[in-house]
Amino acid sequence: MTGHTLVTGVIGSDTHIVGNRILSMALEDAGYHVVALGALTPSEDFIKAAIETAADAIMVSSLYGQGELDCKGFRDLCIEAGLQDILLYVGGNLVVGKQDWDGVERRFLDMGFDRAFPPGTRTNDVIESLARDFAARAVDAGMADR
């Protein structure tokens, strides 16, 4: 166990559960405590679950193209709920159509996500990324302690 809790789910009216489920399984296998909200999850449910389980990160999936509409203001909702520091990942087919990834990534980082992942991302890459980010936070936290 890594000791970290992650909330996963597919945001909005999106039913694409397969990748999210495989990701959730892989994260569990990697030692995380995973709270899987499944498909068709409103933003509010992510935040509620994160508060209830004192989660360290929220992993938002969006595949169906309308993620850009659904994810607007997600960080603000977190901040309102007192989750200003929670790690926010988003991944999938985030926008409508085949768009230049750099532009898409920028848009989602601007929305307040810590990382955005392009179509086709494999679970290993996510796990590595999480490990690095939690490690960096631990160091930061350590430094803050000192």
Partner: protein, 499 residues
């Protein structure tokens, strides 16, 4: 969040019987009042319009002709967030793509009856100058304006609305002049919803199918279609066929006479051909036994519904092969994808290109059939042996009523769907590729398959696991989800270096 007509539930116990006319009139009234454009639906005007359409713009007619001539038609998917974009899209698919059937895919807010959100999406799209919705918000536009789409093309048009709540989209679509509508109760509840019950889904589609019967009573023949692809994720033919037959029985019960059955491709030439043949025969068999010998059930083959590779060239091969599989398999139509599939909704041009690749592949397939190929015949037989026990158990548990049986069968796990987001099904059944590239059942969940049949599946999966030197476990199913999206260097490594 999800709409289930209170009136329907109150006045009618769940059954496969046709909804009585007076009740249906009340249900329609209730339904059409839910959003302002509902008031625009004028059945008599719509009937008149339909009767004015030429033969080649009527989908039931076109499907019948295709079957009679042994042709395999092409149809893409496609929907954009505004009327202007949608007109352009449909014209390009018609003209540059030679599409035989032109689609209108609705957006996901519409599918979930979140029309306010859809309205916002229209506005955002107009503001940004690009589609922010993943489809066309048909209900917001209403039947009158939507009819512009029908007028813009000289082909039959079909509504593709992956929804378990088709009551209003159906009314709007058919009133606008669409002659086909894709969707069904069992299939879409289990693949597009999380909380909705099977019963609600069945009731919602009984409404749509009853509407089709109402049109029929006024002389207008409309096409309905079942999406056997379900979650699109390695659905073994038998699972697809079970849902096809159940939904077909439900539709026939409401009076539908032209009911297409969709089958997602397994991407195995022989298994796909066998699946098409088995589906055709089983559907007609069960329909006839239920007294519906007069329902046409053309088979529609779908380009690979699982995850796609990111390389255009690999995608082109998948697209073209999809045409080959549909044509050699004897499907009446094929629903196409494009080289953009892994990334997002295709541009109209990429979409049209996918249509042309497919159409050329269909030409190249000539009239080749595998009809007497022993491996094909064995596979048809195997699929039938898989399907029958499930269907029979479903009908039995329903005490003769297929609607009731379906609900109970899902509860009992007799019916199960792989990778489903829905909480009402167990989603314990797990498919995976076998050693020869056939889709097989790794874990049957609680589905009452024949033991000998399952042994065949297990044996072939075991051989794959052996060849790859991995255990016979869930990972086989997960790697089968990724398989087709892998880069070439993994799929066909170098002969000597294995790179």
């Amino acid at each position: 969040m999800s709409y289930a007509s209170p009136l329907d539930k109150e006045l009618r116990p769940l059954s496969a019987q046709q909804i009585p006319g007076d009740l249906f009139a009340r249900l329609r009234e209730e339904n059409l009042a839910r959003w302002p454009t509902g008031a625009e639906v004028d059945l008599d005007e719509a009937v008149e319009y339909h009767l004015s359409l030429p033969r080649h713009k009527r989908l039931p007619c076109v499907m019948r002709q295709a079957e009679a001539e042994g042709r395999c038609l092409t149809q893409p998917r496609g929907g954009f967030g505004t009327l202007e974009l949608q007109i352009e899209l449909m014209q390009i698919l018609d003209r540059d793509g030679h599409a035989d059937v032109v689609p209108t895919t609705t957006d996901s807010y519409t599918r979930n009856e979140r029309w306010e959100q859809a309205e916002a999406g229209i506005n955002e799209s107009q503001k940004e100058g690009r589609s922010m919705l993943n489809g066309f918000p048909m209900v917001n536009y209403g039947p009158k304006r939507t009819r512009q789409l029908i007028e813009a093309i000289d082909k039959p048009a079909i509504v593709l609305s992956g929804t378990s709540m088709p009551r209003l989209t159906g009314e709007v679509g058919y009133a606008a002049g669409y002659t086909g509508y894709l969707g069904s109760g069992l299939a879409y509840v289990t693949s597009y919803t999380k909380e909705m019950t099977i019963e609600e889904g069945i009731r919602n589609y009984q409404y749509l199918d009853r509407l089709v019967a109402l049109y029929a009573a006024k002389g207008v023949e409309l096409h309905r279609r079942q999406p056997g692809f379900l979650t699109g994720t390695n659905i073994p033919p038998s699972i697809a066929i079970v849902t096809c037959v159940i939904d077909a029985l439900l539709a026939a019960g409401q009076g539908v006479k032209s009911y297409g059955l969709e089958m997602g491709q397994t991407l195995h030439l022989i298994q796909d051909a066998a699946a098409i043949r088995a589906c055709k025969e089983l559907a007609q068999d069960y329909l006839a036994r239920a007294g519906f010998g007069d329902v046409a059930t053309p088979i529609i083959s779908l380009h690979w519904m699982g995850a796609w590779p990111q390389d255009d060239a690999q995608c082109a091969a998948l697209v073209a092969y999809g045409g080959t599989l549909a044509a050699i398999g004897g499907a009446a139509s094929v629903t196409t994808k494009s080289t953009h599939e892994a990334f997002g909704i295709p541009t109209p041009q990429a979409n049209a290109e996918g249509l042309r690749m497919t159409r050329m592949a269909i030409y190249l397939a000539r009239q080749i059939r595998l009809d007497e190929h022993p491996e094909f015949l064995a596979e048809v037989d195997l699929i039938k042996r898989e399907v029958r026990p499930i269907l029979d158990a479903t009908l039995e548990i329903g005490e003769g009523d297929v609607a009731v049986g379906t609900v109970r069968a899902c509860e009992a796990g007799i019916l199960d769907i792989p990778w489903s987001p829905n909480r009402q099904v167990k989603s314990r059944i797990m498919p995976a590729r076998d050693v020869d590239g056939y889709l097989r059942i790794l874990d049957p969940g609680d589905m009452p398959f024949d033991k000998q049949v399952l042994e065949i599946h297990t044996e072939r999966l075991r051989r794959r696991a052996e060849r790859e030197g991995v255990p016979l476990d869930r990972e086989l199913a997960v790697s089968s989800v990724y398989e087709m999206s892998e880069p070439l260097s993994r799929l066909v490594p170098d002969l000597f270096t294995g790179k």
